[in-house]
Amino acid sequence: MSKYFRDIYESLSTMMTGLGITWMHMVRIRKNNVTLQYPEEKWPRPERNIGFDHSNYNVIRTRLHVDIDDCIGCLKCERICPVQCIKIVTEKAPVRGDDIKDIGHVGVTSNGSRKALVVTRFDIDMTECCYCNLCTYPCPEECIYMTGGPNADKHPIDYEFSEFDRSDLIYRFAKPGTKEGMNEVLSKDGAES
């Protein structure tokens, strides 16, 4: 019988303790304790470029972006990708390091390397991407990176890229018409020689 009343007492007292804690939280409401109204307000993202000696550390996981003018088509990112979401096709350029104006191909990268290949296809399927960041490390020209962070000056952060159709999430970075243009260039070359 005494256990019965002790149980009732303990239930009530511990419940009141818990309610007291929640009550105190309600009274002393701090700014960070409340829910943020997401699309209007956003959580502050941690500062990126903190304290790394060289800024090419890409510590952010967002959408992948490729500066196609800098890409030399070495396929290193395609090979390291654990889910094979990067597809690259290249054609041999007629002259190494030369601009091909017809298709907007730039012969020299911003690092000064002369390009021997024209990238006719560079597709990243962001539905398959697992955001492991492995592709950005081996890139010799640092042209594949995740948007924002240390690269914010090149490309602002973009992590809200939902689409209505899945095929819209396949990002095609090669310049449109490169493949057809390349065929034309090559056949012209063949005719001249």
Partner: protein, 373 residues
């Protein structure tokens, strides 16, 4: 008045059920409210992790280990890289070891916070869940600050970590610990010693020592049954021998040794011990130093095999790796602690009421990503 036996009924819990913690299906044979037999049906989240590994280089496997135990991805990374490094007989710089221990312990706190909070939610206490997730968020913020990801990190690499800790990390971590330690007391007041919670968990689902050992249950579930076994202490790896911490075991504080309340409370105690380890590690960590051992571009471990195990928040995580000297492993086998924890469920739940199954299942803290792999 004897017990009246009625007709037995088979009831399915899951695969889409909020308290099965993922896509788990339980075939429950019931007689009224009393459970007579319970069979877990798994495989809904099977992603061929082990077969995938046979087609990938050693580096590429790491993002996949993240996805096994997605609530403790750092600990899984840690287990895998320790195994590969043992296979290669590689020694990593001291700073890397410290960073790894700090990350693993932060992850342990984050994982336990989610386990405890969700356990409360299963039982019916909603407030502790919100409080614990709020604090877990701060740990995830620290992970985001370090490696850019909040859940699946790919941070620990073979021979080091992907990059150094950012400036101000140590200060942020100390701030977090100072904030967090008083919070543990609050959780205790709010949930641990709540009479309703105790009534739902104490004396329920008792796991005796011998059953736990014979099933191979590990981690907090084993320690709650009173077995003092922690790989960080008993089969030490990395630099855990440098730190001073206790191996917490259950003591049957509110009922029988090895009941649901003990399994819950051991996790709460472990969070405290992790805070202790973190304080030591953050204070002792060398200020400068390289964070990556010089390695060839393609990792080719010598011919041979290794079985290495580490203590994740869920228990004894083992990796068996077989190498033929090529950059691709011949075989990777993962021994997951949550799988053994789930296998003991049939033993535990027999004879209990329907509502107790939820509290028994929640107290085992399973992650389906790891069970199905």
């Amino acid at each position: 008045m004897g017990v009246v036996h009625g007709e037995e009924m088979v009831l399915n819990i899951g695969p889409q059920h909020p308290s099965t913690h993922g896509v788990l299906r339980l075939k429950v044979k019931t007689d009224g409210e009393i459970i007579s037999e319970i069979t877990p049906v798994i495989g809904y989240l099977h992603r061929c992790f082990e077969k995938h590994c046979e087609n990938m280089t050693y580096d590429q496997v790491i993002p996949f280990t993240d996805r096994c135990d997605y609530l403790a991805a750092m600990a899984n990374n840690f287990g895998y890289v320790v195994a590969v490094e043992e296979l290669m007989e590689l020694k990593v710089p001291e700073k890397v070891e410290y960073i790894r221990v700090i990350m693993a312990e932060l992850q342990r706190i984050a994982s336990h916070l989610l386990a405890l909070g969700v356990y409360g939610l299963d039982i019916g206490a909603f407030t502790p869940f919100l409080f614990m997730l709020r604090d877990r968020e701060r740990i995830l913020d620290m992970f985001e600050m370090t490696c850019g990801a909040r859940l699946l990190y790919n941070y620990m690499w073979v021979g080091g970590v992907s990059h150094d800790l950012p400036k101000g990390f140590v200060e942020t971590a100390f701030q977090f610990l100072d904030y967090f330690e008083p919070q543990i007391e609050e959780y205790n007041k709010l949930l641990t010693y709540n009479k309703i919670f105790i009534e739902r968990t104490a004396d329920i689902g008792v796991l005796p020592q011998d059953v736990a050992i014979s099933y191979g249950v590990s981690g907090p579930n084993l320690r709650a049954s009173g077995v003092k076994w922690d790989l960080r202490r008993n089969d030490t790896y990395s630099i855990y021998e440098k730190f001073d911490f206790d191996v917490c075991i259950g003591d049957g504080g509110q009922g029988t040794l090895g009941d649901c309340w003990d399994r819950y409370y051991v996790r709460m105690l472990e969070v405290k011990e992790s805070v202790k380890i973190l304080r030591q590690a953050l204070a002792q960590m060398p200020k400068d130093g390289d964070v990556h051992q010089a390695l060839p571009k393609k990792i080719r471990p010598p011919k041979g095999s290794i079985y290495s195990r580490t203590e994740t928040p869920r228990g004894d995580l083992g990796f068996y790796i077989e190498s033929d000297g090529s950059p691709i492993p011949t075989r990777v086998k993962m021994r997951s602690p949550a799988f053994t924890a789930l296998s003991v469920l049939g033993e535990l739940a027999g004879g209990w009421m329907m509502s107790d199954v939820i509290s028994i299942l929640g107290s085992l803290d399973i992650v389906l990503g790891e069970i199905d792999r």
